[in-house]
């Protein structure tokens, strides 16, 4: 099973990003998704910088994929998407049907936000050039097994296995709103929140995380305990969505898991103190996403 580092969903300072990908280059992950996938106002790294990081990672033996943004609205967003699709040095993860259209005929990765919920759509995307698909966040074991039974030849399956889940996208920037700033003058507030901005209920329970125009789960998806079920279902790639702390320890734990140096239960337990919030795995079990079943079984 391959390990992938998902696109960096937060706005980290440039030096932090560079240091992070140096560590990734030296680490055991096989696939690295790069690029700004959330907000086009984030400019610590420009497109050329991302390409430079991509080259560095490829030299280190990693498969590099450039992720497109999930929400593409403005003319400049569309222009950036066209440039991304036109470059041929690296594969692209399409997170919007506009990207799929522009990549037509070339191999690409069908990202988690394309809404591939059934066999007919999976087959269609394969026909358009997708060589890997990422299961929607809402889907669980039962859905995955059903789709895998009709998976087209040559299509790899990737599952979001660890990290805060990107659950929704809006035109509104909730981080700017929290500071009473308009999105157009957000003063790059996201940079102060390396794992997003916590939003709790009025009785003090963590619920969601505001990350600019993206809304994430406050609980952190942790499917380490389901490793055997994932393998049985034919998952080829496990995605680790980077958080600001302990990212390389998390990758190392998944590496131990796939090499049989740790049991799924032990790896799952060891991950808990490394996560920025409580763990969850509800979607995998066909339950509300915020639930934590592995925890209750233990």
């Amino acid at each position: 099973m391959k390990l992938a580092i998902g696109p960096l969903l937060y706005y980290w300072p440039r030096a932090t990003v560079m240091d992070f990908y140096e560590a990734v280059a030296a680490g055991p992950a096989d696939v690295v998704y790069l690029g700004e996938a959330v907000c086009s106002r984030r400019h610590e790294l420009r497109a050329a910088d991302w390409l430079q990081v991509a080259g560095r990672l490829r030299d280190a033996g990693k498969e590099v994929v450039l992720s497109s943004m999930a929400l593409i609205e403005s003319g400049s967003d569309v222009a950036a998407l066209r440039r991304l699709a036109a470059q041929e040095a690296f594969a692209v993860e399409a997170n919007d049907m506009g990207a799929v259209g522009l990549l037509h005929g070339r191999p690409f990765v069908a990202g988690p936000h394309l809404n591939i919920y059934n066999a007919a759509t999976l087959l269609l995307l394969h026909g358009l050039g997708a060589r890997r698909w990422v299961m929607p966040l809402e889907m669980g074991q039962a859905g995955l097994e059903e789709l895998q039974s009709t998976r087209p030849e040559g299509m790899e399956t990737e599952v979001f296995a660890l990290g805060r889940m990107p659950l929704a996208f809006s035109a509104r920037c909730f981080t700017a709103r929290q500071r009473n700033l308009p999105k157009d003058d957000c003063r790059f507030s996201c940079i102060e929140h390396p794992d997003g901005l916590d939003m709790t209920t009025r009785d003090g329970k963590p619920f969601l995380v505001l990350n600019g125009i993206q809304t994430q789960s406050a609980s952190v998806c942790n499917l380490a305990a389901e490793f055997e079920a994932l393998r049985t279902a034919g998952a080829d790639v496990l995605r680790i969505s980077p958080q600001s702390r302990h990212a390389m320890e998390v990758v190392a734990l998944f590496d131990d898991l796939r090499r049989g140096r740790a049991t799924p239960e032990a790896a799952s337990r060891s991950l808990l103190p490394l996560l920025p919030g409580p763990a969850c795995d509800g979607y995998w079990h066909g339950r509300p996403g915020l639930e934590w079943q592995a925890g209750s079984a233990a």
Partner: protein, 336 residues
């Protein structure tokens, strides 16, 4: 203002046959409805249509030269494709004027087996830019796309002027703050979402409880809001609750308010938008009739070149708005 020659359709919701009649009788050009099952993103108990009611609705609308659009706008779940494909077949044989679809696999099926059936891309299809819309046109020949409620006026104009696909926008009703088709908040909290079950913040998961701290509204146990004495309590749609961020309690995502773009109507018509959608298949026939009447009058006066957003229209719309408040949402750049 010049008189407009291009057609501009008023598309109204019908959760029942009486609502359909209310829409048609008050001037809707099109009525949209759905089957009484998971193929429909407004799959509420006691609402929607079986084959017999659809036949009656189509007969009623067609006799008055109005159109009926059928929303099949959820995503077929793994292994469940037969239900959705069957719904396409049923819609085609009932004689609907178009089907409103979100799922690409289902579009391929409709295009292949019912080539004469007109396809509209549902708002749940999440097409927010011209490249996405052109993808659906090239692959499936869609005739119309409904835009998610996240674009500014300038962005709507840019889309309209760069595609031959007709563009439909939302004019009035509940404001979805997130890009439709890209929101799993409901299933995260309560296990069911628009994409998977055609519901958001499902009623079955809602609990109200009076406590010393106030009246609490919970969704599958998650506290969405708490109301003090005299405060107006809203349905606990999870993105319209009050939460705490950085020590402050407020509507962190959006206030309870309805989208109302009435004042933008002449602008939207002039930029070439083809249709205006009214939200609310879960609402009463009286709501549908009242909202349709106001919008019919407004569109007719805009077409005649003498539009102003009359206070009486706004008052009638506010009376049925969520929290009795309205917003221009993302059409107004400052909202973002």
């Amino acid at each position: 203002m010049t008189q407009l020659e291009s057609p501009f359709e008023l598309v109204c919701p019908a959760g029942s046959l009486p609502a359909l009649k209310g829409a048609v009788d008050n001037g809707a050009d099109c009525v949209y409805l759905g089957f009484r099952d998971a193929t429909n993103a407004r799959n509420f108990a006691g609402l929607n249509f079986d084959d017999k009611a659809i036949a009656a609705g189509i007969a009623y609308a067609h006799a008055r030269r109005r159109k009926v659009l059928l929303a099949l706008n959820t995503y077929p779940q793994p292994g469940g494709e037969a239900l959705w494909r069957g719904a396409i077949d049923r819609a085609a044989s009932a004689g609907v004027d178009a089907v409103i679809l979100a799922d690409p696999g289902l579009m391929r099926y409709a295009a292949e087996f019912h080539p004469g059936l007109r396809l509209h891309l549902s708002v749940q299809g999440s097409a927010t830019n011209v490249e996405a819309i052109e993808f659906y046109r090239r692959e499936f020949g869609i005739a119309r796309a409904v835009l998610p409620r996240v674009l500014s006026l300038a962005q709507v104009e840019q889309v309209v002027s760069n595609t031959a696909v007709e563009i439909e926008v939302f004019g009035f009703g509940s404001l979805c703050v997130m890009v439709e088709g890209r929101c799993a908040l409901s299933s995260y909290a309560a296990g069911e979402s628009p994409n998977t079950h055609g519901v958001c913040s499902p009623a079955g998961a809602v609990r109200w409880q009076q406590r010393p701290e106030g009246l609490e509204a919970r969704l599958n146990g998650v506290l969405i809001d708490r109301y003090g004495p005299g405060e107006h309590a809203s349905y606990p749609t999870l993105c319209k609750g009050r939460f705490e961020v950085a020590g402050e309690t407020y509507y962190a995502i959006e206030e309870p308010a309805s989208l109302n773009t009435l004042e933008l109507l002449p602008t939207l018509m002039a930029m070439g938008v083809a249709a205006m959608k009214i939200e609310g298949r879960q609402r009463s026939p009286a709501y549908v009739a009242q909202v349709t009447r106001v919008w019919r009058e407004a569109i007719d006066s805009a077409r005649a070149g003498r539009f102003s957003a009359k206070p009486a229209w706004m008052a009638q719309l506010d009376a049925v708005a969520e929290g009795r408040q309205h917003t221009l949402g993302a059409y107004h750049r400052a909202w973002k």
